[in-house]
């Protein structure tokens, strides 16, 4: 389908740009590692109680480090007025958005997959037996983060205080997704299955993603067209 192909072209362009300089990627990764380190002073990493909040800690790290990547999303189009050229092309704005969200998903998951082993080592948490369901939770929740983050990156692209405004706008709105991700991660790391009483969090993530992706695809054209 042409829409998908156009989105993938935009996604590939974003990824190529980012991988060439790796600015946002390195900053995000460094930030994630620093937060993990700082948390080790706040919470005793060896205690049993820390194991219980492990899911929460991990997603705090991902959320904070993630905004560094999300901010770049539309901001990288500002130099040389590239955004105008993209919008003027036959590619629908919704496809531009989808491509950028996909690129963000890849970058965010990359940071998460590097942070996860570090987290496991620092906090003595065994995650390898549960990797596949964990990966599922990572992908689902990160998509929610990517959709909201990319959309608000478009919304704030022309603002002076863009770097400040993006976290302020994004964090309150992704709380349901973060809640679900934290709960599911903690449960999985404790060795419990996600069926039964925890399945509702998976449903919440899916509903969150479907609703906000649909809303974003519908409204992004309004935002990008003056």
């Amino acid at each position: 389908m042409r829409f998908l192909r156009q989105s993938l072209t935009v996604a590939a362009k974003d990824l190529r740009s980012e991988l060439r300089s790796k600015e946002a990627l390195n900053a995000s990764l460094a930030f994630a590692l620093v937060i993990l380190l700082l948390f080790s002073f706040a919470f005793d990493p060896t205690a049993e109680t820390t194991r219980e909040i492990s899911g929460g800690l991990l997603w705090l790290v991902f959320a904070f480090a993630g905004t560094l990547i999300l901010n770049r999303s539309f901001a990288r189009e500002l130099a040389n007025d590239c955004l105008d050229a993209l919008v003027a092309s036959p590619v629908p704005p919704a496809a531009i958005f989808l491509g950028k969200a996909l690129a963000n998903l890849v970058l965010l998951v990359a940071v998460e997959l590097v942070s996860l082993p570090v987290f496991g080592v620092f906090y003595n948490v065994r995650w390898t037996p549960h990797f596949v369901p964990l990966l599922g939770v990572l992908l689902l929740a990160t998509w929610g983060l990517a959709v909201i983050g990319t959309m608000f990156s478009a919304l704030t692209v022309n603002l002076r205080l863009r770097e400040l405004m993006l976290p302020v706008l994004v964090y309150p709105m992704i709380i349901p997704a973060l809640m679900a991700a934290m709960q599911l991660t903690t449960v999985l790391l404790a060795g419990e299955p996600v069926w039964g009483e925890n399945w509702l969090w998976v449903r919440l993530l899916v509903a969150f993603n479907v609703i906000f992706t649909a809303l974003a695809l519908a409204l992004v054209e309004t935002v990008l067209l003056g």
């Binding site: 072209t9 935009v10 740009s17 040389n80 007025d81 003027a88 036959p90 003056g226």
Partner: protein
């Protein structure tokens, strides 16, 4: 058939009308030079024509279609204030990207051809970041013309260019005109624009006060139009 038409365009910034009742139409082979002081609304009008913004009232049609339709945008080439190429990609990567976005079947081959035409084939793998201003401008023009558009919308294409780049642009625009393309460009460089233009339009405070064919008097005395409308 008229290739580009504006019907009763209005554009507001809040309650302030930046464009009022702007209407005109041009057909193939016309090169329209859009003149006006800074703040008259030239860029606003060009953005509406290029489909980058929506008018508050009225409408724009490109080849009979609204500019937001993909079919119309595929026939449209846009060159704004910024060069709209990516600094962190190479020349060939930039042109191939835009070729793909415009749905060209052989994007890379078209990109290579155009790099030859504008004299940048020897630096095709260098990042745009390393180019001089004139080289960037030539690349930007290639990007705008890559998909062989029928209509070109250019915002001040001659601003701050070196002689070589100006010559290239004039040659390319002359070719486009001869091939029956439609060009709309805003400019402060009256002399270069008047050489190429077939029609002239003047915007004063958002209103189109003059629209007509280029006359010999305008070519001989470029400032005449401004003085005639009390803008000098």
């Amino acid at each position: 058939m008229e290739t580009l038409a504006a019907e009763n365009l209005w554009k507001y910034y809040g309650d302030f009308p930046a464009l009022r009742e702007v209407s005109f139409s041009i057909s193939g082979g016309v090169c329209l030079a859009l003149l006006g002081r800074n703040g008259a609304g030239k860029t606003t009008l060009l953005r509406l024509l290029a489909g980058l913004a929506r008018p508050a009232k009225g409408r724009v049609t490109i080849l009979g279609r609204p500019p937001r339709e993909a079919a119309a945008r595929a026939r449209l080439g846009v060159l704004g204030h910024g060069i709209a190429v990516y600094d962190e990609l190479s020349a060939i990567e930039n042109l191939t990207l835009f070729g793909r976005l415009y749905g060209l079947a052989e994007a890379r081959r078209a990109a290579l051809e155009w790099l030859e035409r504008i004299g940048l084939a020897h630096v095709r793998d260098s990042l745009v970041r390393e180019f001089s201003r004139g080289m960037r401008q030539r690349l930007a023009l290639a990007r705008a013309l890559l998909h062989d558009p029928d209509v070109l919308v250019l915002d001040e294409p001659f601003t701050a260019l070196d002689d070589r780049a100006i010559a290239v642009i004039q040659a390319l625009l002359g070719e486009a005109r001869a091939a029956g393309r439609t060009v709309v460009m805003s400019t402060h460089q009256l002399r270069e624009a008047l050489e190429l233009a077939t029609h002239i339009a003047l915007l004063v405070r958002g209103r189109l006060v003059h629209f007509g064919e280029r006359t010999a008097q305008m070519v001989a005395d470029p400032g005449w139009l401004y003085r005639h409308y009390g803008e000098a």
